[in-house]
């Protein structure tokens, strides 16, 4: 349609192409928003829990993104990539919260390091709300995680010399919810506001994790005796 419209105008071939590109870019900008969550995350002020933990970020966790395609007229598609920020945030929090932390990247890491348990976070759901949909002047992000603490042996696949999460049986497994919001502000774009709400949600996830971890069933027994409680 854009091409047909331009054909009816007396423009050079190059000018037509340029105008088509600009028009399509403008239209695309009007209908989709992409946020790669970025922020600075503080080291928590806590007295470390005296255990040695391996942390396993799955590929799915590292590349997590929320995709919401527009379905109606006037709606906007959103793509919110939280994966990089998730890894950055939890990589700051866990080493401060546990006495000893090893980030497990491979089967060899599991064989090399002697850890009491492996902690596996999973993003179960992320939802968002913007003033356009709610009529409330705040941008909101909700996150839900599933966390699992598992014996290292449970996720070692000796046959294939790899890590396998298929048949693992965690000795502690719990959900964690988080919420972040930011008010509308003068000269602030939707993208900046959603990014800020996501950063607030991550901070809230950390606060929830720190204040609730010791109340998770099975965790206290494990901390008292990491070798036997599992």
């Amino acid at each position: 349609m854009v091409g047909r419209l331009l054909d009816s105008m007396t423009l050079g071939r190059k000018a037509q192409r340029l105008l088509t590109l600009i028009t399509l870019l403008v239209l695309a900008a009007c209908t989709s928003r992409e946020v790669i969550v970025e922020g600075s995350f503080p080291t928590p002020l806590v007295d470390p829990v005296p255990v040695s933990v391996g942390v396993l970020f799955t590929q799915e966790f590292k590349e997590h993104e929320l995709v919401d395609d527009a379905t109606g007229r006037g709606e906007v598609s959103w793509r919110v990539s939280t994966g990089t920020a998730q890894v950055e945030f939890w990589s700051t929090l866990f080493p401060a919260f546990f006495q000893n932390v090893v980030f497990i990247e491979s089967y060899e890491d599991l064989q090399t390091y002697d850890v009491d348990a492996v902690l596996i976070p999973k993003v179960a759901d992320v939802q968002y709300a913007i003033p356009l949909y709610t009529n409330v002047k705040v941008y909101e992000i909700w996150m839900r995680y599933n966390l699992a603490l598992v014996e290292p042996e449970q996720i070692i696949d000796e046959e294939n010399a790899s890590i396998s999460l298929e048949n693992m049986q965690p000795f502690a497994e719990w959900p964690l919810t988080a919420y972040g919001k930011t008010p509308t502000a003068f000269m602030q774009s939707d993208i900046d506001a959603v990014n800020l709400a996501a950063v607030m949600a991550l901070r809230d996830a950390g606060a929830n994790f720190i204040t609730s971890f010791l109340r998770v069933p099975g965790v206290m027994d494990w901390i008292k005796n990491p070798e036997e409680a599992q």
Binding site: T43, P44, K137, P183, A207
Partner: protein
């Protein structure tokens, strides 16, 4: 064209003079003694479901106090909240001075607060919001240029309450509030000229001055 623009600016100036802001101040506890030297932190309440106390308003109050007294050191909100993460997040922030006592039982938190040498913690709760609006404006683009014509007006209201906690005494020692409102206008003859009532700035000046008086009393 020049004459039209001049007229618009003159109209703007006239209406700007009409912009008013009403201030309502209350101090529940009279100041007993101020602080000579020491540090304070001004924090915004962020646990309400439908609003957040604006960070720039908190910065404004902090700057007002810093400018007013050289002996009072104001710790920036973001720096304080990050230094004590996660204990002053919306989920975990203490709602009463008694809760701070419980927080101080954590050795790392107690040490950090001691390092900061904090005398007062001031919590600000409130927001600025637009109220009524009326008028209409039409904008158009033609071969010779673009322009707008019309008139719009809207009201703005700020309502903030400050609660002061004295860290040395472990007690809540004062509350004060500021309620300001004003009307903004936007006439448009070719170019829209916004004449914004400085409602939030006035609330900041009002609350900042009250806090400064409180903290400087007797010194």
């Amino acid at each position: 064209m020049k004459r039209a623009l001049l007229s618009v600016f003159m109209l703007g100036g006239l209406l700007g003079g009409c912009v008013t802001a009403n201030v309502d101040e209350m101090t529940f506890d009279a100041p007993v003694a101020g602080m000579a030297d020491g540090s304070i932190v001004v924090l915004g309440r962020r646990h309400a479901p439908d609003y957040d106390t604006e960070p720039d308003f908190i910065d404004c109050i902090g700057n007002h106090i810093s400018r007013g007294s050289e002996s009072i050191s104001v710790i920036p909100e973001r720096q304080f909240v990050d230094a004590l993460y996660p204990w002053f997040e919306p989920r975990t922030a203490p709602l009463s001075i008694e809760s701070v006592g419980r927080l101080m039982m954590l050795p790392s938190v107690a040490n950090k607060l001691e390092d900061l040498d904090l005398n007062y913690m001031i919590w600000i709760d409130g927001r600025t919001q637009d109220t009524n609006s009326s008028g209409s404006m039409t904008c158009g683009v033609g071969p010779t240029g673009a322009g707008c014509f019309g008139f719009g007006t809207w009201g703005t209201e700020s309502e903030y309450e400050a609660t002061i906690w004295n860290f040395d005494d472990g007690a809540e020692v004062g509350k004060m509030s500021a309620l300001t409102s004003g009307q903004s206008y936007m006439p448009a003859v070719v170019v829209p000229i916004p004449i914004i009532a400085p409602v939030q700035d006035t609330a900041c000046d009002s609350l900042g001055t009250q806090l400064l008086q409180y903290l400087s009393a007797g010194s």
